[in-house]
């Protein structure tokens, strides 16, 4: 069954007399429980496509069937309802509310539910979602007390709490180091295994290879759409442990041979890029 179906989707931006066609006729169907990666150089229209898929924007032409209904011509507030009930969002820069506990961040989408839930139900749903992402013991932590990977897990829990049909991830690993990225991808793969449809925009081929279907955009058109057997992030993580030990041994040997007694710390993890995000945090 198709979860989402695009037919001849176009998106044209007008700035004064200038007309830019960001998408020039996209046809795409995604089935239930697929894990799709969308790639492409900047300017290829992948952000525009993602905004349309996420019902944050409406196409200039074409049909967009989401979960059976056409959403291409819906109004602003109707789209908000679709986003709340059918879609879940994960962003590159997490977008957690600052000075708000993980649990409250996760509760947020449920506050906007049309069918109003009791506080108890909201609370339970949030705890459950945090358990799924493995942060059941960090519920009352503020975003600035969490690492980048943990923040992204909270963000994923927030996307899951509404039990969406589709998870849309926009560069979910863009702000994370390699090791943490793998853990996030592993989480996404496990969610996919449980039957969640996932669309992920990324510009890193390293990350795209964990998806079972990779779509490449160029100049507003789909250039390639390939299916393959994805790698498992979990395997990479397990192999990682040995790699790190090897790297550590090597570094130690080198240090002692140069006469340095204090071996430099094995900085496996790259520092997380400084965020200008709403978290306004000062570091980790």
């Amino acid at each position: 069954m198709h979860v989402l179906q695009l037919e001849g989707i176009e998106r044209t931006y007008r700035t004064g007399a200038l007309e830019v066609k960001a998408l020039r006729g996209i046809d795409l169907t995604v089935d239930e429980a697929e894990f799709v990666a969308i790639m492409g150089p900047s300017g290829s229209g992948k952000s525009t496509l993602m905004n349309l898929l996420g019902c944050l924007d409406s196409p200039s032409a074409g049909r967009y069937l989401l979960d059976g209904g056409d959403v291409a011509r819906l109004k602003r507030d109707e789209l908000a309802r679709i986003r709340n009930e059918i879609l879940g969002f994960v962003f590159q820069s997490f977008h957690l509310l600052p000075r708000t506990t993980a649990r409250e961040n996760v509760e947020l989408p449920l506050l906007y539910r049309e069918s109003q839930l009791s506080w108890k139900e909201i609370r339970e749903a949030a705890s459950e979602a945090l358990d799924i992402v493995g942060l059941g013991d960090r519920m009352e932590h503020m975003p600035n007390e969490l690492s980048g990977g943990q923040k992204q897990r909270v963000a994923i829990a927030r996307a899951l709490v509404t039990q969406p049909r589709v998870l849309l991830a926009d560069e979910p690993t863009g702000n994370l180091d390699t090791r943490t990225s793998l853990e996030i991808i592993d989480l996404i793969q496990r969610l996919n295994d449980d039957g969640l449809t996932i669309l992920m925009v990324t510009h890193e081929p390293e990350i795209a290879r964990y998806a079972e279907r990779v779509i490449i955009l160029r100049d507003g058109l789909i250039r390639s759409d390939r299916r393959r057997t994805p790698e498992r992030a979990r395997e990479r993580i397990e192999a990682w442990g040995d790699d790190v030990e090897d790297a550590l041994d090597e570094a130690l040997q080198e240090a002692t041979s140069h006469g340095d007694i204090d071996a430099p710390p094995a900085s496996v993890a790259d520092p997380v890029p400084e965020e200008v995000g709403i978290e306004q945090e000062t570091g980790r």
């Binding site: 507030d77 986003r83 977008h95 600052p98 708000t100 506050l111 906007y112 709403i278």
Partner: protein, 405 residues
């Protein structure tokens, strides 16, 4: 949006920036406090005025010569010489409702005692003047009808005169001089405080009107006739009778206007109350302006807050907030901010009113009414000044908002 989540989110957002919340609320706190204080003081002043009017005496009428309009606009007419001592005597003798009538003659003179002197108003009055004014003596006695008939050289002095001339010592039996005329002090008035117009009522000397007319002022006509009527109910009857009698005595033809004006105690009170009411309004509008400025402060901060929290708004929109949800959130935030200010303002206003009223010696008024109005107004300020920023937030494009750095 879940209803109970609206105030909850608003309070969370305000707590995320405690310092700014407090500072912003201060604008409203000061505005509301100013309104409450001004209204409270105005009411206190009004009550004080009322009390002073009562101190004027019971069922008192003042008859002025010539034309004299309510509110004292054409005060110049009061100098006309149309009222005589005989008029006063006739009023008392011929109108049963009139229990006392005192022809008043006033002059400013220097009063000398030993090597001290003091410039004070000297009032010529009848023997029943103190009864009209409901003004008890502190010591000594008031001059009587006999003193008036003989134009005795006696005086009753006010507290200020006692202080200035006798330095607080007992003046009874002492002799003071006015333009060489020796007057024996026979009584001291009890303190009376400020008059409606703010002059010190205790700075005066009262002598028999006969002595006043003949020996001190040199005038032949009464400047005012103070009349006391039997009861409040007979006020109107007495007024009509006095008018008829004076017109007859002055030989006025029916088409001629009165050459005198009658003012009752109520009319005097009305003028005074009107004045204090105008003052209250004036003060309250100044306070209102400061509340308005506080409101603009709220608007400013809310605008900054919306800009700062563009990403937050973007996220809320992305996870399903509708425009009205965002509008409501920011609006409630600003209303809560204003209500906090309102509550703070009530407390501050309460202390300010107490302090100032204490200092001014007025009764302090702190009405529930002013409190309700203040809270209502501050909530209204919140809605009014919060609406534009909230509306702006609700119109944000989620894509742009999410991308904002």
């Amino acid at each position: 949006m879940k209803l109970s989540a609206v105030p909850y989110s608003a309070i969370k957002a305000l707590r995320r920036n405690t310092m700014r919340t407090i500072l912003t609320a201060f604008g409203i706190i000061i505005g509301v406090a100013a309104v409450i204080t001004m209204v409270g003081l105005g009411q206190g002043a009004g009550a004080e005025v009322e009390e002073q009017v009562n101190r004027l005496g019971q069922n008192v009428m003042l008859i002025f010569p010539g034309e004299r309009q309510l509110g004292g606009v054409s005060i110049g007419g009061g100098s006309a010489n149309t009222l005589t001592v005989e008029d006063a005597i006739a009023l008392r003798e011929e109108i049963p409702e009139v229990v006392a009538a005192s022809p008043e003659v006033r002059s400013q003179r220097v009063v000398v005692y030993g090597n001290r002197n003091w410039h004070t108003p000297i009032y010529g009055q009848s023997a029943d003047y103190l009864q009209i004014r409901d003004w008890p003596l502190e010591s000594g006695r008031m001059f009587d009808e006999e003193d008036v008939g003989r134009a005795s050289l006696v005086a009753v002095v006010g507290q200020t005169v006692v202080q200035e001339l006798f330095e607080g010592a007992d003046p009874i039996g002492e002799t003071v001089r006015v333009r060489g005329l020796p007057l024996e002090v026979i009584g001291v008035l009890s303190p009376k405080g400020m008059s409606l117009m703010g002059s010190v009522q205790d700075d005066l000397m009262i002598i028999p009107y006969t002595t006043g007319f003949q020996r001190v002022s040199g005038r032949s006509h009464a400047m005012v006739i103070n009349v006391q009527v039997y009861s409040e109910e007979t006020m109107d009857v007495a007024r009509a009778k006095i008018t008829d009698l004076l017109r007859e005595r002055h030989g006025l033809a029916p088409d001629q206007e009165n050459d005198f004006t009658i003012q009752t105690q109520e009319e005097v009170a009305q003028i005074a109350t009107e004045t204090s009411r105008v003052m209250t309004w004036l003060l309250a509008s100044i306070a209102g302006i400061s509340l308005f400025v506080g409101g603009i402060g709220i608007m400013n901060v809310m605008l900054v807050s919306v800009t700062e929290r563009t990403r937050e708004v973007g996220l809320r929109l992305a996870v399903g907030a509708r425009s009205p949800d965002v509008l409501m959130q920011f609006l409630i935030e600003s209303v809560i901010l204003c209500l906090l200010g309102g509550i703070g303002g009530i407390l501050l206003g309460y202390f300010a009113t107490e302090t100032i009223a204490n200092y001014a010696g007025w009764p302090a008024f702190f009405s529930l009414e002013a409190m309700v109005v203040a809270v209502g107004v501050s909530a209204a300020v919140g809605v009014f000044f919060g609406f534009y920023p909230a509306w702006k937030a609700s119109r944000l494009d989620p894509i742009m908002a999410l991308r904002q750095e």
